[in-house]
Subunit: 293 residues, 2 copies
């Protein structure tokens, strides 16, 4: 494929489980995409750099371009973990193979993507949860902090709450709930001993898979599940209010839980969300174009 | 050392972090002790069996006995994990090197130890938490279930609650608390990002080390810490009531938190606890003597 002398851009969205890459031309036409492994420098700077290069090479191949053309790309790289200055500096000092590299947090590029390059706010509710606002030359992260100590209202948090309530009910120390039979069925458990065996050593992703049962149970009138979602909604509202105090022009809800969660938010909050316009990796390209002279 | 034809007993208390062994004579005089590695068959049946043998051989050496005398020992073996039938059966099918082996849960031998061979109830509050009662031919486990999904009121649970409150305060989504400066100082953190870095990948033992700060803060009037302990006390009381409904003759509180926790329990509950009389590994010997013909 011949691209001529047109400048090409690489957008990277890297997180704890995977790294997505997109290559676009000067008119923002997508030429190719690639997905590689984890790219959170907090866990491993070397792995993050390798995953970014792997994803970029896959996107070049997908676009019908030569691998050597990696040095022609202006890269916008959004990464989890680089909100911590140490990891921002380590990644920014990288002798990267691109023409230029412009580094930002995964939150910033997701926000730019959601608002098509403009400032605004986002709330992410998937396996994890976090709020972010960038406007008027200021930015603020609200929440996050990981599992199990933070990420309230995330899928992992909902799953953990559900399991806690099931175990309290099993000891007759808490209200009975249909979450018990739903979660036992989902995990193939016969009793609470089985459940504890299943949970041993599991992390956020495992718990997040149980979140759907909280929504299902609540929809069918289970009071315990409804209380969990009411607590989630209260936290969500508090984060929302913190973000809106910065007066962003737009706010978007991103992540796997958005479809189910909307039913449990107050109407006057739900109505203020706008659909995200672009994916985070496109947000990374928009960031690179803003930063590149 | 010459023991003659007197029967010797081995008591084993095996858990997720270590395995304690004691050898006593027919008059319950302690001849030797040994400590080896983890012995929870839920994590590894092979390791549990190896740790039990290692601890027994160390205790034999400590007693000035020959390693070959392991086959003269009547062993009482109390293990974490064997409340799950599968692991009880796997351990019970072991071609063990002892003269006899009598297997029970770690809870049962701790309970027998606390009440010097009699029935009764125990509550354990250390890194984990659990209640157990054995009387009138019946036994019941209340609570437990591990971290982070269970073990309410344990050290790990208290530490996690503290960290959650610190992170909420850092986001200005919860009340300010002196737990922030206490925990930052304890972990050498400057801010919430540092704290999240410290917590990454940590388990129950790490969180449990933070529990002392909840007690210290509460003692000095911190409302957030006091609320955490009030919640712990409520749960503790509920477990206590479940156990006492079985009408045990005695109940004892065991574990690292007992000294600090007592101040936060209602007087009418605290006053019902009796000092444990023997260590769990001695309880294992008592169990073996009860079971052996």
């Amino acid at each position: 494929m011949h691209i001529g002398h047109q400048q090409l851009y690489l957008g990277i969205d890297g997180g704890g489980s995977k790294c997505k890459a997109v290559i676009v031309d000067a008119e923002m036409q997508c030429l190719g995409e690639g997905i590689a492994g984890a790219a959170n420098p907090f866990h491993s700077v070397d792995n993050a750099q390798q995953s970014i290069v792997d994803a970029a090479l896959l996107a070049l191949a997908d676009a019908g371009l030569e691998q050597s053309q990696i040095n022609q790309l202006i890269a916008g790289v959004g990464l989890a973990g680089v909100n911590i200055p140490k990891y921002f500096d380590l990644m920014n000092a990288w002798q990267h193979p691109f023409k230029e590299m412009h580094l930002a947090t995964d939150l910033h590029i997701a926000c730019l993507g959601a608002h098509n390059g403009d400032n605004g706010a986002i709330m992410i509710c998937g396996t994890g949860s976090v709020g972010y606002v960038s406007c008027n030359g200021d930015s603020l992260i609200v929440g996050g902090h990981g599992f199990p100590q933070g990420d309230t209202c995330s899928g992992a948090w909902l799953g953990l709450q559900a399991v806690q309530k099931v175990l309290l009910a099993a000891d007759d120390l808490g209200a009975q709930t249909t979450l018990t039979k739903r979660i036992y069925r989902a995990l193939g458990c016969l009793d609470s001993n089985d459940l504890v065996s299943c949970l041993s050593g599991q992390g956020a992703t495992y718990y997040a898979r149980l979140a759907i049962h909280v929504f299902d149970a609540a929809d069918e009138g289970d009071l315990v599940a409804q209380q969990i979602l009411a607590q989630a909604s209260n936290y969500f509202t508090a984060v929302f209010n913190k973000l809106m105090a910065k007066e962003p022009a737009r706010i978007s809800l991103i992540g796997g839980l958005q479809v189910r969660l909307k039913d449990w938010l107050a109407t006057d909050i739900f109505s203020q969300f706008s659909e995200p316009m672009q994916a985070p990796e496109i947000g990374a390209v928009l960031f690179a174009r803003q930063q590149s002279k």
